[in-house]
């Protein structure tokens, strides 16, 4: 008759038998032990066994859920694909902006050979185009933030999957230099400080 006190020995034996034991093997062990248990158990031992049983069930359920999710599709296909799409957006907007700036510089050259009201109007118009073209810088920075987010999701998924394989060592925490930690990127319009907010903040130092 197997007693609870035999549990550590049984697990050690199995560990020696299966040095590369995976979570499914552990689950098997749990089921095997539970099915062979009988006799009187103290309430504490029964609670412990119940916890072990729940843990085994949770592991099995999570494995099924991860299998159903198709994580390989996410990490191998969807996220790299999304990154490629975003890279393409950055490349296309950069190329379009270069073209617009070239035309604008041509208009500027024409304007400098003119006099009077028309020349001033042309200069005002080209100035507004230059100002508007800075969208490419802002959208580029926003897209970079999204790419970082996708990479974080990818890493998180890899970590979850890794918990079902033998642990090879903890991942090193990412250490950021103090200045780099200040790189917040463009803020969303609803929460951003505008130029007048910044002017007021700067003035508060004087």
């Amino acid at each position: 008759m197997l007693e609870v006190s035999d549990l550590p020995k049984r697990l050690l034996d199995l560990g020696r038998h299966y040095p590369d034991a995976k979570s499914d093997i552990v689950a098997e062990v749990v089921v095997s032990i539970l099915s062979s248990m009988s006799g009187d158990l103290s309430s504490r031992e029964a609670a412990l066994l119940h916890e072990i049983g729940s843990l085994g069930q949770a592991v099995a359920t999570t494995r099924l859920e991860i299998a159903a999710l198709g994580v390989d599709d996410i990490t191998v296909s969807y996220i790299p694909c999304a990154n490629d799409e975003l890279d393409a957006i950055v490349a296309h907007t950069a190329s379009a902006t270069e073209s617009i700036l070239e035309v604008c510089e041509t208009l500027d050259a024409l304007g400098s050979a003119m006099d009077g009201v028309a020349a001033r109007q042309l200069q005002d118009a080209t100035m507004k185009i230059y100002e508007a073209c800075s969208f490419q810088d802002i959208t580029g920075q926003r897209i970079t933030k999204v790419v970082h987010t996708l990479k974080t999701i990818e890493t998180t998924i890899a970590r979850i999957v890794q918990t079902f394989a033998p642990v090879t060592g903890a991942l090193e925490p990412v250490v950021r230099a103090p200045d780099v930690s200040l790189l917040n990127g463009p803020q969303l319009p609803a929460t951003a400080m505008d130029q007048s907010d910044i002017d007021a903040l700067l003035a508060s130092f004087d």
Partner: protein
Amino acid sequence: MSINHSVNVLIVDDYKTMLRIIRNLLKQIEFDNVDEATDGTDALAKLRAGNYGLVISDWNMVPMTGLELLQEVRRDPKLKTLPFIMITAESKAENVVSAKQAGVSNYIVKPFNAETLKGKIEKVLGNA
């Protein structure tokens, strides 16, 4: 306000498009002596070798950021009083405060217009 428009200006940004935009806006507000750098390290080398009267820099660059460039400029006995304007999308209060503490002359948030650029340059060069 009488401003010296012949001053040598160094613009620093890792986005070529942005350098082109700032250069053209500076041209329209009559600053023609404009040089470019694509990161802080490049900018610092140019500043130490050249004779500039104004720096306009982005913050978010590698390997040396705009804030690190500003800190290096303020540490350098030859450059420490050089007017330095940060034009950046980094608009959180903590960024503005850090830049001010590092000795920034003025701070412009992207996207900006030519009028803001002109106003800040006049203020900075007027006080220089």
